[in-house]
Assembly symmetry: C2
Amino acid sequence: MPKPVHSSIHQQIYDRIAYLGTVSKAELLDYFPLTSSSMTRILEELTAQQLVIVSGLGASTGGRKPILFQTNPGYGYILGLDISRLSSSLGLFDLHLRPLSIVRWDMDRSLTPERLVELVADHAASMLKEHQLERRQLLGLGIGAVGPLDSGKGLLLQTEFFPSEAWSNVPICALLEKELQIPVRLDNGANTALLAEHWALRDEACTNMLYVHAGMSIRSAIMVGGQLLRGSIDTEGAVGQLIIQTGGPRLRDKGNYGSLEAYVSVPSLEERVQSQLKIGRVSLLSEIPPESVTFPLLVHALEQQDPLVRELFLETASYLGVGLANLINTVHPETVILGGALIGADPLLYETAVQVACRNIYRHPEYNPVFSPGILKDDAALTGAALQILQGWEK
Amino acid sequence: MPKPVHSSIHQQIYDRIAYLGTVSKAELLDYFPLTSSSMTRILEELTAQQLVIVSGLGASTGGRKPILFQTNPGYGYILGLDISRLSSSLGLFDLHLRPLSIVRWDMDRSLTPERLVELVADHAASMLKEHQLERRQLLGLGIGAVGPLDSGKGLLLQTEFFPSEAWSNVPICALLEKELQIPVRLDNGANTALLAEHWALRDEACTNMLYVHAGMSIRSAIMVGGQLLRGSIDTEGAVGQLIIQTGGPRLRDKGNYGSLEAYVSVPSLEERVQSQLKIGRVSLLSEIPPESVTFPLLVHALEQQDPLVRELFLETASYLGVGLANLINTVHPETVILGGALIGADPLLYETAVQVACRNIYRHPEYNPVFSPGILKDDAALTGAALQILQGWEK
DNA sequence: GCACCTTAATTTCATTTTGAAATAAAGTGA
DNA sequence: TCACTTTATTTCAAAATGAAATTAAGGTGC
């Protein structure tokens, strides 16, 4: 029994309107134990503050037309920051979470945290200028970053992707708060992506979701009962350590034996293709020195219908399906969002992963999860980063 | 974003007092956004209703001694019912969840649901009589049952353990409500056991828990953020379908290939011992026809230090450790409760499972889960069954 | 066009709930 | 004893709430 968190009824109603998009007073009453007189008063207050605006009249269902409310998209603005390995991006969003501007840049190995903060500040400043907004209209900055990290303390822990002293235990929230003078929140990119996809889905019935992104590594996030599953540590990367083949190989002599990432990740795929080439398997890539065979070449070979590459891509997708089945059998989500370069290269890969997953799901007459590649695709993590602020800011 | 559930502040405060056991007004104020004047009023009301009683004065920490409150254990009584395969039990509890009486009986294959209801009613009546309680003092009956089931609808779905028409889609809640005229709630036994262990632990810091019971089958339950993880279906049995050996064997030609239950369950262990005996492995059991080798004999052989049996028991424990690691890497619980006949037969089994699990946990400097065999042991599911009522009943 | 039904929104007002601040109670420690 | 701490209670004005009546604005059938 954790300490309960209390947010004011105004806050809750605002959040509900934001989630529903456009909603009538009567509809809102379904969600709160209030009388219509109280709801009238609260909506008057929210409207007076300009937090909420009237957006017109809805269709009649046999009586008076309902007045429709929505949150005021221009009440304030939010920055979203997606920190990834190869590239990062910053987006400026209104309160309907529509992007006004998005800028991406490569993550150079020589980039220091201080330089990143400057970069963000510069981009933020020009975005504000572009849209003729003032700094005080910014409500906050949300970050979705590659782990490991400590979202509570706002720290990026030492990461294998920026393997330097400079990137060890970076208090990224504090740095950006100091620079921008606005609240900053941090979470891992898988969580923010899931959050955003859930938001974009706008499906009341979907409160349990699974998000899996298979690329350089496997990242995943889980939503249970409408809340992100947060164990006692940040969990984004742990999914790669799930064992799907007891006693199997490990990836680059690290991690668990027979782990998911040893079968489903870009480096693993590269390694497996290379070793097949070394033992003389025929392929379009046979001309190339095995050690030069990298992922972009593999994608190209796949497009050329190379049988060896195709076989190993499909094998990867199958193993991903096994991992998915395990996660699904643990949390039983209504919706599973699947993305990443490893299965994005060809529709068949996505289908294979889904098929294998489905084949191994615990049979239950009333259980039929929906698989989807997501709505927001590459902008999911960025949008979700901003969403953290929308949901957390004190209204 | 699920529909929020609203419970009155009185209810919440009662539940908090119940969980904390003994608590001062000042301490309670930490948990609720109330002023002390409001707390005074609410506690007065709860005390006037006899729901809460004053239990004395606490120690001074430099000032006035706090008045300590606790819930009134005699305000009402609760029945807990644990429906399992081999035996079931009924317990009568006070509101401190102390058992006044517990009765167990074997689950005969010929038992019908109707007969079970009668049995429960009879036992309940004699328990009430024994403690000179009246029927109206009963607040409800909570059930923890073997799955699959539908806790929302109060149904026991068709189960492999009672494989008859009579046990298909039994509306157990409705039947017992009609018979006993009190509210009845249903959940799977793993969930109720976890709930009870969490309650018994009384550790504020432990809001993420994993419960795994390895016996005839594997059952598990997960708590996240202080709430039971409930996917879109009841999940107790699905853990057995987790794949730990892609392409591995299945159990009795059913379920997933390489599933956890194919490696970690009584039938699987029996099968593996039998097949080793058939190929001539030496063992104390070599005298016995392989097909007659059943679990009780195995436990006996283990106690006799039989090498073959010992080896296969340990192998089973290792595989369990792999399954545990997968679950732990998914939810990162602070506490892992481990039980069941498969690892209860010898302390070494428990230790092996824990060791293998620990070896495969995602490394994180701040993560160190605690493993425990639980506090309540065999009474966990029963106690948790009653706990459902304690937490759910309208105060 | 007009009665009549439905749904939605507002108003009114007595009641309940709440928070802020002052006060009292009961202890510790020097 | 006195100063200080922690806990508990009281008081009262302000805020929030619910119930019920009322108003608004649309449908539908004749």
